[in-house]
């Protein structure tokens, strides 16, 4: 079962890059049509929502820049899934790791508000990484000593991390200015990641692209990548060859968690400017889907993250203009995945 998904993620399942573009377009259209029928059944106007989304997203530069804002965390959370997948590990804990990265980075921002930006931002990035890494360390260790499957442990920890964040913003870090809405005090200017030219597109996007480049370089051109692929292929044989399998599992899980943690850090630092509850509209989970559909390829991740940013905008538009809860857009994501899953006969 471990082995299966390792193969699945390694192989470009959804070969959008190769001769499959028409098929991908058909899948997207069919999914949008099915989703539209469901919305119609619920008495909503899906065509209007699609039109509104297209106008909002592609109608002007700002709307398009918002897509990049949404893509940013997805790139990182997708790497957090793809990296361990290379060795047959399933990290579904991106959501929790995202929150913990944001949490620890906030700790840094609140503790050292007077540091200059050139010192504070790197510190927060390291703390964000550490927060996510800590959250993936436990599942990594439990998996390495073969006690608990990492799928279930990372899933469970997703429910704990937001509670830690809530504990802090309702308690020790509660801002005195906002009595009604619990949130941390605003960060100092030095703790804000810079954005580009009047948009909300921020340095996190560079983190994301650099993360992807590093991911594909490490996997393709270094001995660590080779080692990870060896473990994914046959853990038993790798162990006999002298590869430290348990140590690699722990290290890779932690690094993956750290990458998701950086996504959380970038989100609080650049977008929110303070720690809030409900920081993520499911970036960690979406990252899993992005990684799965991209089949582990770095370019595939960029394309899929873009697609999911569009889908997520449909969710926003539905919520704003038609009063449909944002999470309904999960149906659209699920339909796409079901179609892709149902299309191919795995193992053949």
């Amino acid at each position: 079962m471990q082995h299966d998904i390792a193969l699945t993620l390694r192989r470009p399942v959804f070969r959008i890059m190769k001769l499959q573009v028409p098929r991908a377009a058909v899948i997207a259209l069919v999914s949008l049509a099915i989703f539209a029928l469901l919305l119609l059944a619920a008495g909503k106007d899906p065509l209007q929502a699609y039109r509104d989304t297209a106008v909002y997203v592609f109608g002007n530069g700002y709307g398009f820049s918002e897509l990049l804002v949404r893509m940013t965390p997805l790139l990182l959370t997708a790497v957090a899934v793809s990296l361990p997948a290379r060795m047959g590990l399933i990290n579904v804990g991106g959501e929790g790791q995202f929150y913990m990265g944001a949490w620890l980075a906030t700790g840094g921002a609140l503790m050292f508000p007077d540091l200059p930006a050139w010192l504070l931002l790197p510190l927060m990035t390291v703390l964000g990484f550490a927060g996510g890494a800590l959250w993936a360390l436990l599942p990594g260790v439990l998996r390495a000593v073969r006690l608990v499957n990492e799928t279930i442990s990372t899933l469970l920890l997703n429910y704990v991390a937001p509670l830690i964040v809530s504990y802090f913003i309702f308690g020790p870090w509660r801002s005195s200015e906002s009595a009604s809405y619990p949130e941390s005090p605003a960060f100092s200017d030095a703790a804000r990641l810079p954005s580009f030219a009047g948009t909300r597109v921020h340095v996190g996007l560079i983190f994301g692209l650099a993360g992807l480049a590093l991911y594909s370089f490490v996997l393709g051109h270094t001995r660590w990548g080779l080692r990870m692929r060896a473990i994914g292929g046959n853990a038993e044989a790798s162990l006999r060859l002298g590869i430290p399998v348990p140590g690699t599992i722990v290290a890779v899980m932690s690094i993956a968690g750290g990458v998701a943690g950086i996504a959380g850090m970038a989100e609080v630092s650049a977008i929110q400017g303070r720690l809030v509850a409900g920081l993520s509209p499911g970036y960690g989970f979406m990252g899993f889907l992005v990684a799965w559909l991209a089949g582990g390829s770095a370019i595939g991740i960029v394309i899929m993250a873009f697609l999911f940013a569009v889908i997520s905008s449909i969710g926003d538009i539905l919520q704003i203009t038609q009063g449909v809860p944002y999470s309904v857009v999960n149906v659209l994501m699920a339909v796409i995945l079901f179609i892709v899953l149902g299309q191919r006969r795995a193992g053949s």
């Binding site: 079962m1 299966d4 998904i5 699945t8 469901l38 919305l39 619920a42 399933i90 579904v92 439990l142 073969r146 006690l147 608990v148 799928t151 279930i152 442990s153 899933l155 469970l156 920890l157 997703n158 429910y159 704990v160 509670l163 830690i164 809530s166 504990y167 309702f170 308690g171 989970f285 899993f288 889907l289 799965w292 009063g323 449909v324 809860p325 999470s327 309904v328 857009v329 999960n330 149906v331 659209l332 994501m333 699920a334 339909v335 995945l337 079901f338 899953l341 149902g342 299309q343 191919r344 006969r345 795995a346 193992g347 053949s348």
Partner: protein
């Protein structure tokens, strides 16, 4: 002081354990047939939303429970088509089902946000019918799985579908049956939350109980009877938290809400040693036919 507290805890753990027990039993049947369904969370949410909607529309909570069971079966069959007939990866398909459940339940439940429904009537001892039926359901399932030819076939499919096929069973058909039962139980488990505990619909109200149920199946070592004490322990963890909060204990509610998840993890760690021996051998594997 102690006695009423203990009674309150016990009553409350039975109430919160019930939905968990149904969901656990549902996951267990599927896993016995060799299918891991990570989407129970989604199935429970759809059950909770559909049950609530049906109960609110008809005014009859029992119709709500039936609707929830049917909805659970329907979505589980969709999952079944992908993993059984199309032999897709079960983990990916399960997570997809979870997403589907998040979204679909939000859509179904949307018109009913803020509404209060007439819950399942409390019968003898202050417990509703679903509570009274929970343990008999576990026993019935145990009987079906371990004392009937049907159950033998189902378990054989979970251990080795090829051998089961060779001995005249139909692995795919049996797996569909197992998922139908599992979906109904998962949906009913969700409905118990919205129709007996909260009496209201709230987006994402199952809060990870589906994943706790998956862990409970491991805890129960794939035996329906062992699922009963397991569900009770988790019900107690939740009950203790609610009771302490109600009594104004000086612990953050957020810290207490973490307890069930951490307890699940802890139990999995202690169970980690020998769980492999009890798991159905073909768990997670598709049946590729005997060509």
């Amino acid at each position: 002081m102690i006695t009423p507290f203990a009674t309150a805890i016990l009553t409350s753990s039975i109430l919160s354990g019930t939905s968990l027990l149904y969901a656990t039993l549902g996951e267990l049947v599927g896993e016995r047939a060799g299918i891991v369904n990570l989407g129970v969370e989604g199935v429970m949410l759809i059950g909770a939303a559909t049950g609530f909607a049906a109960a609110s529309a008809t005014g009859d909570p029992y119709l709500g429970v039936i609707a929830a069971g049917l909805a659970g079966t329907a979505v589980n069959l969709m999952f079944g088509f992908v993993v059984i007939s199309r032999r897709a990866n079960q983990l990916a398909a399960g997570l997809t089902l979870m997403f589907f459940g998040f979204g679909a339940s939000a859509l179904i439940g949307r018109p009913f946000v803020g509404e209060i429904v007439t819950g399942l009537p409390r019968l003898i001892g202050g417990f509703d019918a679903l509570v009274w039926l929970a343990v008999p359901t576990a026993c019935l399932l145990w009987f079906l799985l371990f004392r009937t030819r049907w159950g033998l076939g189902l378990r054989a499919v979970g251990e080795d579908p090829a051998v089961a096929f060779a001995s005249g069973r139909r692995p795919e058909w049996l797996r569909y049956q197992a998922l139908s039962i599992g979906g109904a139980l998962g949906g009913i488990g969700g409905a118990h939350l919205s129709l007996a505990l909260t009496l209201s619909w709230d987006e994402g109200m199952t809060a990870g109980r589906g994943f706790i149920a998956i862990a409970l199946v491991i805890f129960a070592r794939w035996n329906p009877l062992w699922a009963v004490p397991g569900a009770l322990v988790f019900g107690a963890a939740e009950a203790l938290q609610l009771q302490l909060q109600a009594r104004g204990a000086d612990v953050s509610p957020f810290v207490m809400t973490m307890i069930p998840y951490l307890l699940t993890l802890l139990i999995l760690v202690f169970w980690g040693w020998n769980r492999r021996s009890a798991a159905p051998a073909a768990l997670g594997r598709g049946f590729f036919g005997v060509e």
